[in-house]
């Protein structure tokens, strides 16, 4: 069954079609769209599992859309980066289960079907982005998940949501234009849009336009991935957006930027071209600054979702340190950390959403004493916070350990210090949260009167918390799974 070739395009088309059909079929009904969306997400996850099985036993494979030869038509390629579609679909499914009650209260009734449609379209755009092997198709899918992300951020009722969404939109559009401009330059130089062919034609060419295209693509995807200097759109967008949306944004949409960057590195050869070295070291040091800056900012935040948003910036910094080091274990660690962070961060955002939904309070000091009133959600959050800080056998540790190891292999001891320090700071604000939840008497009347969130809210949080432990234990098998992709992108480690 997993040999049937047509699963690959369906991985992207299914959620997109499901998303478009949601408002058409269920415009007025508030509940059915949720079940429909969860079903579509489940089917997509099943398709992703089929593709993963085929990838494991027969390696990368590609699919010519419309039957045309790769140069003339669009070629979809499924490799380890594409395998990120499976965790993405599962996370979106859990976020959709979470949003059944959450959205019923925060979004006007007739717009509920639009919400579920936009989430599915976002998932479809993301899956398409991960599997496409064509440069312009990459841009189109990026636009799909970006437009739906801008709209999802703006669906929250508070006025700052509109302003945050507009900032996100302007910066996102700017980065998309940079990507489109670089696609134009690559087309002008090579005449083809297929990534593999373009890579062959561009082989090690250190001409100025190649550098320009590399810089444009890297900057564009860095903005989408909220790397340090261009990250300021992320905190407002994630804090203002509804909780399941900020979970999807932090876990998946930001990682798409990273995946895009990996595609560009694939395009520009295995690290020989003249311009790649400065870019890699730039990514390394910006990542280091992002890690420390993000962790420190998260420590001083009062609003719980702002805290989690800044911790996303810190973890993105981790990933870029790994990519910048360009040694096999560092890049492997970065990729694995991308998945682990997606799981942990979505658990945290959903737990925070459940707390805000039950008590209406966002300030950490107001959420004191919730440990007794909302035991499941509070335990899920506390457990995942410890996992996020990188305490071993849990998910945060695998990526951090591998990246630090890669740093030593690359002869750079400084990132090891940055990683350990950032880990401590992350642990600090984690403990501050746990301290507030469990060891402080309730400070507000609404925390005393609040009751545990409905099952559809705390169950996904617990599932993700358990997953963050399981992923930690499955660390080494994930690293072996990712190794061939690292080899393909970075060629022989420098």
């Amino acid at each position: 069954m997993s040999e049937w070739p047509h699963w690959l395009p369906l991985l992207a088309v299914l959620p997109l079609l499901g998303g478009v059909l949601t408002p058409l079929l269920f415009r007025r009904r508030p509940v059915i769209p949720c079940f429909w969306a969860v079903a579509v997400a489940l089917v997509t996850a099943a398709v992703a599992v089929m593709l993963l099985l085929r990838l494991i036993d027969s390696g990368d494979f590609s699919y010519a859309v419309g039957g045309w030869l790769p140069q003339y038509g669009i070629e979809l390629r499924f490799d380890q980066i594409g395998a990120f579609a499976l965790p993405a679909s599962l996370l979106v499914m859990l976020a959709l289960v979470f949003s059944r009650h959450y959205v019923a209260r925060t979004v006007d009734p007739e717009k509920i079907s639009y919400y579920y449609a936009l989430v599915l379209i976002n998932l479809g755009g993301l899956n398409g982005f991960l599997v496409t092997g064509d440069l312009f198709n990459l841009f189109v899918f990026m636009e799909i998940f970006s437009v739906s992300a801008y709209a999802l951020v703006a669906m929250a009722r508070q006025p700052i949501a509109a302003l945050a969404a507009l900032k996100y939109l302007l910066l996102g559009a700017l980065s998309s234009l940079l990507v489109l401009f670089s696609v134009g330059v690559v087309f002008a130089m090579t005449g083809t849009l297929n990534i593999e062919d373009a890579a062959v034609l561009l082989e090690g060419s250190s001409s100025m336009p190649a550098g320009l295209a590399l810089a444009g693509l890297a900057t564009g995807f860095a903005v989408k991935a909220a790397l340090f200097p261009v990250h300021f759109w992320l905190p407002d967008a994630h804090a203002a957006a509804p909780a399941p949306v900020s979970a999807i944004l932090s876990a998946l949409v930001v990682k798409a930027g990273v995946a895009g960057l990996l595609r560009t590195l694939e395009l520009f050869g295995g690290g020989e071209s003249l311009y790649l070295q400065p870019l890699l070291s730039l990514m390394l040091w910006l990542g280091a600054l992002g890690t420390l800056g993000g962790a420190l900012m998260a420590l001083v935040q009062r609003d719980i979702k702002l805290m989690l948003a800044y911790s996303t910036i810190a973890n993105i910094g981790y990933i870029f340190i790994g990519l910048g080091l360009a040694t096999t274990s560092a890049v492997g660690g970065a990729m694995v950390h991308a998945v682990n962070h997606a799981v942990m961060k979505s658990a945290l955002f959903l737990a925070a959403g459940a707390m805000i939904h039950q008590t209406g309070l966002r300030n950490i000091d107001d959420l004191r004493g919730l440990g007794r009133r909302m035991p499941a959600t509070a335990f899920g959050m506390a457990f995942t916070l410890v996992a996020l800080s990188g305490v071993p056998p849990m998910a945060g540790f695998v990526g951090k350990w591998q990246i630090a190891l890669g740093a030593l292999e690359a002869g750079q001891p400084l990132p090891v210090a940055v990683l350990v320090l950032a880990g401590l700071v992350v642990l600090a604000f984690g403990v501050r949260m746990i301290n507030a939840l469990y060891f402080r008497p309730p400070a507000r009347v609404s925390t005393v009167s609040s009751v545990e969130a409905p099952v559809s809210m705390w169950l996904p949080v617990l599932i993700l918390a358990v997953a963050s432990l399981a992923l930690g234990l499955a660390g080494s098998s994930m690293l072996e799974f990712v190794a061939p992709a690292v080899q393909a992108i970075y060629g022989t480690p420098p």
Binding site: V140, I160, A162, L166, L169, L177, F187
Partner: protein, 136 residues
């Protein structure tokens, strides 16, 4: 290939790039949100102009391969890309305009510095400063 002649032959690209930079300048520096969207559109137009010129051929006929027409044809690929790009630009701009409308309705103004000065309209900020300082 003296500098001047290479400048002359690449004049189309240079115009596109300078248009891109002016659009970026408007987007980054103007305080009015609508002006920012206009700047964004200028940048989009410049990128589309750049892509179309890559597919241009001197004395080239449009890529209509009807029986009678011949001569060097312009390459059809950039045209298809730009068509798609234009539609993306329309969608992003329309979403931006609606957001601006909502900001105008809810935050009262379209000028960034006026919005920043206006007190945070939503309640969450009001709640945090009315409570005493945490005894941390």
């Amino acid at each position: 290939m003296t500098v001047v002649s290479s400048l002359a032959s690449h004049i189309d690209y240079l115009v596109a790039v300078s248009l891109f930079l002016t659009g970026a300048w408007i987007l980054l520096t103007s305080g009015n949100l609508v002006k920012k969207v206009i700047g964004l559109n200028i940048m989009e137009t410049s990128v589309f102009a750049f892509i179309v010129t890559t597919g241009m051929v001197d004395e080239g006929a449009p890529p209509l391969v009807a029986a009678g027409l011949q001569g060097p044809f312009a390459s059809p690929l950039p045209h298809a890309l730009v068509l798609t790009g234009i539609v993306v630009a329309v969608s992003v701009t329309s979403l931006a305009l609606v957001l601006i409308l909502r900001i105008k309705a809810e935050l009262g103004s379209v000028e960034l510095d006026e919005i920043a000065l206006a007190p945070k309209a939503d309640d969450s900020a009001g709640q945090s400063n009315q409570r005493g300082s945490a005894d941390e």
